[in-house]
């Protein structure tokens, strides 16, 4: 066994250890009790949380992907810097400020929260779409054109499959971040597990805090895993980057 391997064993052992200690501590203090004693509220909040993430992510995919594809077309190349800067700008505004701004426009509630999350998901999705398509060897496109493929065939048979790894990685990053950020929806009355987290903070009640926070974390890990599986399914074997270990 080499040094690197030993290191990674040690680190993962420590991490698992800390997690285990945390859970033992939390369970022994019966901090998870709310999940069971108020299970209907918990399920309601969880569902709300997932709805926030799902709706905002789907919207973001629906916008970021087509826009990313569009700006990588020859005739729209010139628009790329405008679009990129606009999307970048959306990311640089602090999330709370976006939420506050949106309240004045959309009022409080689910819609505002979804909109803010949507803005936040755009950048990673858009940027990875553009980067993925840009990273394709120019010669491949040249060969495809020279063989008589139509632009739409080049897009669907060459560009998207070869960019799929990057595009899906962007989506995964955005969605996982989104699950965490969705806890802030509480601030604008958007519901979700943030309700318990903020209640916990306000009441100094570790029970609420942990009953809200841990499911969010687990949800993020679970969704990350699911999307990785999806990646493995979708990305063509020949287009994967060299296997990381």
């Amino acid at each position: 066994m080499n040094k690197k391997k030993v290191m990674s064993r040690v680190v993962s052992f420590l991490v698992y250890g800390i997690v285990a200690v945390f859970f033992i501590w939390a369970i022994s203090n019966s901090y998870f009790n709310y999940i069971f004693s108020q299970s209907s509220t918990f399920l309601y909040l969880l569902k709300q949380h997932m709805q926030l993430v799902l709706v905002s992510s789907l919207l973001a995919v629906g916008v970021a992907l087509p826009v990313g594809i569009l700006v990588t077309r020859r005739s729209f190349r010139r628009a790329e810097w405008i679009v990129s800067n606009t999307v970048n700008l959306g990311q640089t505004i602090p999330s709370l400020a976006v939420l506050a701004l949106m309240i004045s426009i959309l009022g409080i509630g689910f819609k505002t929260a979804v909109f803010a999350l949507f803005i936040y998901s755009l950048l990673p999705m858009y940027r990875n779409t553009v980067a993925g398509i840009d990273s394709i060897d120019e010669n491949l496109i040249d060969a495809a054109r020279g063989m008589g493929m139509k632009p739409i065939q080049i897009l669907f048979r060459i560009e998207l499959p070869n960019a799929s790894y990057s595009i899906l990685a962007g989506i995964r990053t955005a969605v996982v971040l989104n699950i965490g950020t969705a806890a802030l929806a509480y601030v604008v009355g958007g519901g979700g597990l943030g309700v318990w987290i903020f209640t916990g903070i306000q009441l100094f009640d570790n029970g609420y805090l942990i009953s809200g926070a841990i499911p969010v974390t687990l949800l993020a890990i679970f969704v990350d895993y699911l999307l990785r599986l999806l990646e493995r399914k979708i990305v063509p074997k020949g287009s994967k980057p060299p296997q990381e270990t």
């Binding site: 060897d137 010669n139 491949l140 040249d142 060969a143 495809a144 054109r145 020279g146 063989m147 008589g148 493929m149 139509k150 065939q153 048979r157 060459i158 499959p161 070869n162 063509p236 074997k237 020949g238 287009s239």
Partner: protein, 330 residues
């Protein structure tokens, strides 16, 4: 047949990349576009399948003006091979090779048969390689696949843009030979871009030497080596062009013109050489002095005579001075 008729390419801003080019690629011939970088050879090639627009003049393919054809249909009728092989990493070898037939709507069974036949041509097993991905193949194998991909739908015309330029010299030579072998069978009309003089001499039926978008000379390799039209051609082929021209001739050619030397049966230190060997390699073998006598044999192994440096020199002198046109290869 490809005919260039005062074909011109002028870029915005007035730079002329190709300037009134006139020549014809005969059916079944390989014409090599040769010249220093920036001479417009690749641009000219790409104008044939309209990856570059034609500013002036025209290009006709088998009598049809290329501009009168639908661009997509035109490209599907022209095989296209590029230097970096251009294989699509997301597709298997079989999918890659069968792209054009697929675009043309061939049936599954036809495609499978064609694929196996093409793979056989380059000595690879279709069964074994069909499901693999490009990155799992060696550079030489990838380039071979690139070549048969261009042949897949059996197009009459092929464009090859430095197809073997990225390969190491040993593999390159092997693939060149293999390709010439295939060409003898399929007899495509081929336009071939190269910057390598040796490759051009070896592959070409005729060479177009370009400079600054203009044709300097359009001739057979031997004519160009022996009778350069101007100073540029002379310099381009270099001082060793006489030696280069030897690669166009075999011992057989020499034997027919001036005959071989008599064998000296008393010398025991001999090596043999096949009569189809080209004279350039023969000469370098003679210069290496691996043996005291080099004996020429035919395919059956019959001894035909001996070959010496003097005879090669005599032949070269005779060919350059006495004959207006050298024997063409092929």
């Amino acid at each position: 047949m490809i005919t260039f008729d005062k074909t011109t390419k002028t870029y915005e801003g007035g730079v002329t990349a190709v300037d009134g080019v006139d020549f014809t690629v005969e059916k079944g011939n390989i014409v090599v576009l040769l010249g220093p970088s920036g001479c417009g050879k690749t641009t000219l090639l790409r104008m044939v399948n309209r990856l570059e627009t034609i500013s002036d003049g025209k290009i006709t393919i088998d009598g049809e003006d290329s501009m009168s054809l639908d661009q997509i249909a035109l490209r599907r009728k022209i095989g296209y091979v590029i230097q970096s092989n251009g294989l699509f990493p997301n597709m298997t070898i079989e999918e890659n090779v069968m792209i054009v037939p697929d675009l043309l709507g061939w049936k599954k069974k036809e495609k499978r048969e064609r694929f196996n036949k093409l793979m056989e041509m380059i000595g690879l097993s279709g069964e074994k390689f069909g499901k693999r991905y490009p990155h799992e193949l060696s550079g030489g194998q990838q380039q071979r696949i690139g070549v048969i991909r261009a042949l897949a739908a059996d197009p009459p015309v092929m464009l090859m843009d430095e197809p073997f330029g990225a390969l190491d010299p040993i593999i390159r030579e092997k693939i060149q030979d293999e390709f010439l072998q295939i060409q003898r069978e399929v007899k495509k009309t081929i336009l071939f871009v190269s910057h390598d003089i040796d490759e051009a001499i070896k592959m070409a039926d005729k060479i177009v030497l370009l400079r600054g978008g203009e044709v300097m000379q359009y001739d057979t390799p031997s004519e160009m080596l022996v009778r350069p039209k101007n100073e540029f051609v002379r310099e381009f082929f270099g001082k060793d062009r006489a030696i280069k021209s030897l690669s166009l001739h075999t011992i057989n050619d020499l034997q027919e013109v001036i005959g071989l030397a008599n064998m000296d049966e008393t010398i025991s230190d001999t090596i043999t050489i096949n009569v189809n060997h080209d004279l350039r390699n023969t000469l370098s073998m003679l210069l290496n002095q691996e043996a005291d006598q080099v004996i020429v044999i035919d395919d059956e192994g019959n001894k035909l005579g001996a070959i010496t440096i003097d005879i090669v020199q005599k032949y070269l002198h005779f060919e350059i001075k006495a004959k207006p046109t050298l024997v063409q290869k092929g």
